[in-house]
C-alpha cells in the first residue's frame, strides 16, 4: 500500500512538473503547425539557421540611438497593448511577443516604468500563450518596474528572458515561432526608428535605418524555411515589398587598420575600416511608408 502511494505521488508530481512548462494558455489555438512537419522543408542546416538568428542585432541598440539623438519619449510610436487578448493564434502571439519586446526595449531605455508594467503584462500573456511563460520572470520584472529599485536588473532580465525564449523555441523544434518573434522585434524596431526619422530627420538615424538591409536579408533566411505555411508566405511577401526598396540602398566600405587605445583604464579598440550607407531621401521616405504599412497590418487585431 505504501509503495503504491509513493508511486502515485511520484507520478502525480511528474504530471504537475510537465504541466508547469506548458504555461497558462496551453490550449490557445495553434494555427501554425509545430515544426515536425516544417523541419522536412528546411533548406539550410539548423546550425546555419541558429547562427543567423543569433547574429540579428538587438532592438536595444536602435532604441538607444533614438534616445542619444535627443528624441523625446512618445507613446505614440508603440503598439497598443489594449487588445492583447484578441491575439489568439500562435502566429499573432509570437509576432506580437517580438513587437512588444521591441517596445519594452524602448521603454526600458527611457526608464518609463509605469508603461513598462503594461507591456510586461501583455508579454507575459503572449509568452504563456505560446508555452514559453516559464522563461519570463513576470513577478520579478513587475516588482523591479514598480519599485524602481534597479533599472539595470530590469533591463538585464527583460533582454535575457527574450534570449532564453528564443533559444528554447529553436532547441525544441519550434523555430518558426522564434522566426516570427524575431520578425516582430525587427519590424517594430524599424517602425520606431522610421517614425522618429520622419518627424525629426537625423543623418545617424537615416544611416542606421539603411544598415537594416543586412538584418532584413537575414530575416528572409530565417523565415524562408517555413514559407510552406500560408501566413509566413504572406509575411514574406510583405517583407519583400520593403526589401525591394532596401535593395536600392548601397553600403560602401573604406579600408583601415584597427588601433588600440586606453580610455578610462580600459582597452578600447577603434576600428578604422568604415561602412558608409548611401541612402537618398526618396528611398528613406519609401522605407518609412512601407514599414508603417506593413507594421500596421501585422499588429491589426
Amino acid at each position: 500500500m505504501i509503495q503504491k502511494s509513493i508511486l502515485f505521488l511520484l507520478l502525480f508530481a511528474l504530471i504537475l512538473s510537465c504541466q508547469s512548462r506548458k504555461g497558462k494558455l496551453a490550449d490557445a489555438e495553434l494555427d501554425i503547425l509545430d515544426s515536425l512537419e516544417l523541419a522536412a522543408d528546411l533548406q539550410i542546416s539548423e546550425e546555419a539557421l541558429d547562427e543567423i538568428v543569433q547574429s540579428v542585432s538587438s532592438p536595444i541598440e536602435m532604441a538607444a540611438l533614438i534616445k542619444e539623438i535627443g528624441t523625446p519619449f512618445s507613446l505614440d510610436y508603440l503598439a497598443t497593448t489594449d487588445y492583447v487578448d484578441r491575439y489568439n493564434t500562435s502566429f499573432q502571439m509570437a509576432y506580437s511577443l517580438g513587437a512588444f519586446g521591441a517596445d519594452l526595449g524602448y521603454l526600458n531605455i527611457y526608464n518609463k516604468n509605469t508603461q513598462i508594467v503594461d507591456y510586461l503584462t501583455a508579454i507575459n500573456k503572449l509568452a504563456d500563450g505560446i508555452r514559453v511563460g516559464q522563461f519570463f520572470d513576470f513577478v520579478t520584472l513587475k516588482r523591479l518596474a514598480t519599485s524602481r529599485e534597479n533599472i539595470d536588473s530590469l533591463m538585464y532580465i527583460s533582454v535575457n528572458s527574450f534570449n532564453n525564449i528564443d533559444s528554447y523555441l529553436r532547441e525544441n523544434n519550434r523555430g518558426h515561432l522564434s522566426a516570427l518573434m524575431i520578425t516582430g522585434v525587427w519590424i517594430e524596431g524599424m517602425y520606431l526608428a522610421t517614425q522618429v526619422a520622419n518627424e525629426t530627420p537625423n543623418p545617424a538615424l537615416s544611416e542606421r535605418i539603411g544598415e537594416q538591409k543586412l538584418n532584413l536579408n537575414n530575416l528572409f533566411l530565417i523565415l524562408n524555411p517555413y514559407q510552406n505555411q500560408q501566413q509566413i508566405a504572406d509575411l514574406l511577401a510583405q517583407l519583400k515589398e520593403i526589401k525591394e526598396v532596401f535593395d536600392q540602398v548601397e553600403i560602401i566600405y573604406e579600408m583601415g587598420e584597427p588601433e588600440t587605445v586606453e580610455k578610462d583604464g580600459m582597452v578600447m579598440i577603434v576600428q578604422n575600416e568604415k561602412s558608409i550607407v548611401q541612402i537618398t531621401d526618396e528611398q528613406l521616405q519609401q522605407i518609412i511608408n512601407k514599414t508603417e504599412e506593413v507594421r500596421n497590418q501585422l499588429i491589426a487585431y
Binding site: L10, M155, E273
Partner: protein
Amino acid sequence: MIRILTLILLGFLFVFTSNIQAQSAADIVEQCASDAGEDATYLKDFIVKLGKAKPGSKHPVARYPLVLSKNNVYRFNVCTTEQSEGKAIIRIYDSNRLIFSSYDEDTQEEFNPFNFRCQKTGIYHVFISFIDGKPGEAVGILSYVTK
C-alpha cells in the same frame, strides 16, 4: 516494485540535477553581465563548455556570429566558471581577421573586459576558447556601452 521506484527516483534526480546546472549557468550569466560595469547594457551571452584539446590538433573553440552597428561602442567580457580547469579567452574577428583578443599569449597579459568602437556595420564573430587548450566552462557577454 522497488526497482521501478528506484528508476523513477533516479529519473527525478536527473531532472533536478539538470535544473540545478541550468540555474548555475543563469547565475553565472547574471554575474558576468554585472561585471561588465554600470555603463554597459547587456545584449547577449555565450555559454561555452569545451573539452580538452587533442594532441597535435587545434584548440577547441566556440564561435558565434554577431551583427555589430557603426558608431556603437561594445564591451566584451568573459567569466570562467569556478569548476573550469582552463581560463577563458574571448576574441573578436571581422571575417577571418583578428581584431582583438582578451589574452596576449606573448606577454600573458589579460584585457578583460575590453571595448570595441565599431565603425563598420556588418557580421563579426566572437570566438571563446581556453588557454593552452585546457577543458573549461565560461560565459562571454556582449554589452552596449552607453555614451
